[in-house]
Symmetry: D2
Subunit: 152 residues, 4 copies
Amino acid sequence: MSVKFEPQGDYEGRVRTSFARQQIMTSIGAELTRVNAGEVEIEMPYRAEYTQQHGFLHAGIISTALDSACGYAAYSVMPADAAVLTIEFKVNLLSPGRGERFLFRGSVTKPGRTIIVADGQAYAYDTEGNARLVATMTATIMVVSGRDGIEG
Amino acid sequence: MSVKFEPQGDYEGRVRTSFARQQIMTSIGAELTRVNAGEVEIEMPYRAEYTQQHGFLHAGIISTALDSACGYAAYSVMPADAAVLTIEFKVNLLSPGRGERFLFRGSVTKPGRTIIVADGQAYAYDTEGNARLVATMTATIMVVSGRDGIEG
Amino acid sequence: MSVKFEPQGDYEGRVRTSFARQQIMTSIGAELTRVNAGEVEIEMPYRAEYTQQHGFLHAGIISTALDSACGYAAYSVMPADAAVLTIEFKVNLLSPGRGERFLFRGSVTKPGRTIIVADGQAYAYDTEGNARLVATMTATIMVVSGRDGIEG
Amino acid sequence: MSVKFEPQGDYEGRVRTSFARQQIMTSIGAELTRVNAGEVEIEMPYRAEYTQQHGFLHAGIISTALDSACGYAAYSVMPADAAVLTIEFKVNLLSPGRGERFLFRGSVTKPGRTIIVADGQAYAYDTEGNARLVATMTATIMVVSGRDGIEG
């Protein structure tokens, strides 16, 4: 299931620039820890202020980071002048969002000129560093070209 | 498509108590503005700190509020001693998350003893108060009974 | 949730022509019973040859008819020279596919130049004519223009 | 992403018996070609009678075989007296259903006592035997126990 991609110029620079403009990533403490052509990883610590009623990380925050990971995985294989737009995603919540730290990986399953499909996995790490798969995402992403004022 | 439900005791009190324990709702400025049996509404203002790279509300925050709206719509028709658990959801992003204020409605499409399906709509309001449908969700929710220490 | 659409020329003729070319519709006994701008209905009888292990209509056949209903609802609001392509769909199976007859309705939730989102409902009718909601679909559909040899 | 499972008695016999009772599998010419604990493969030839308007295998038939592959992958890791019920699935259609032959693989991503999540891939083979990924599925499956008259 591993797909190889032609790097599109300075894809890493473009991904990092756009990620830095997502204010929400700063707000939730998320960092971009890996950028390959077609694969992106984001990490964040547990934060009580983003929890649901049982003290676990809210599914919506898991979705937030997975959506950014999948979106930037797709963006990394787009032409340099394109913008990225998530059309839809589905998230399966496999295990509670309990952990010290979280890693979110997005990777391109199917590239395309107009539509890109990416899949993501969210892992929770406990204090001993053991990982547990807590959620998966499938996201459908559109390559937006030639819309003035929309980039990144 | 309107389904009527038997009120389960003080469902409103239970929903409000559980919602108040979701720290993320306070963090993003979300309020519970309507609780009926099988239908819940949540509202929140636009906040720059939860935006994506184009300055729109991040799809993950839209999902956060929709998931809570759908989850509490399901919770409102569960037996009093049950806990609510979202198994999975799908979100379609129909329009950018641009607006002054947002309303998220979740309603039960199919009740059940173990599995409840709820659908949600997210609306953005501009400064004139005009609403625009920006996202829809379908969520599959589990009724969790008899697990010690898990409630709400 | 009712959206009004500008009729696009002879949309009904185009939908009926394309539907007639879907050999699977004939194979499963499905008929196009209603074509409005943005809303399409398909009906079919129960057939033992399309059942799963418990004798109910297989979820995949319910999906087949829902996908065609949603796809043609979208097609009915597309420009006359466009072709329709389903990108993805999600189906929730709410109740077993038990019945004498089935009705599948697809309607456009969000029109668009490139992407159209449609929602569908599947109903089972018993021998007394009582309807039961058995499944829902959300489908993301692409408007394909200017690809030689692809139409309908 | 490979998960190992404890074989549950004669899981292969149970999967084969239940598959043989799905009349639709015979109707569409599908065969069970591989049964491991947590992974099932189904194959079928192209058949014009199950095509959509462009002559490709209809997305609903791809979903039918993927749903059975995912469902039986889940069933293979269930206790011997349980029955399998698909709650919902999502399908992404990555490429047209054009080919001589199709292979559908379902594998368990997350086992569980009540809910099992499985993922599937559909491949089309051309006349030279080259495979192309045409669709992916994520399915949420319920373990049904103790309902009289429901098995398999």
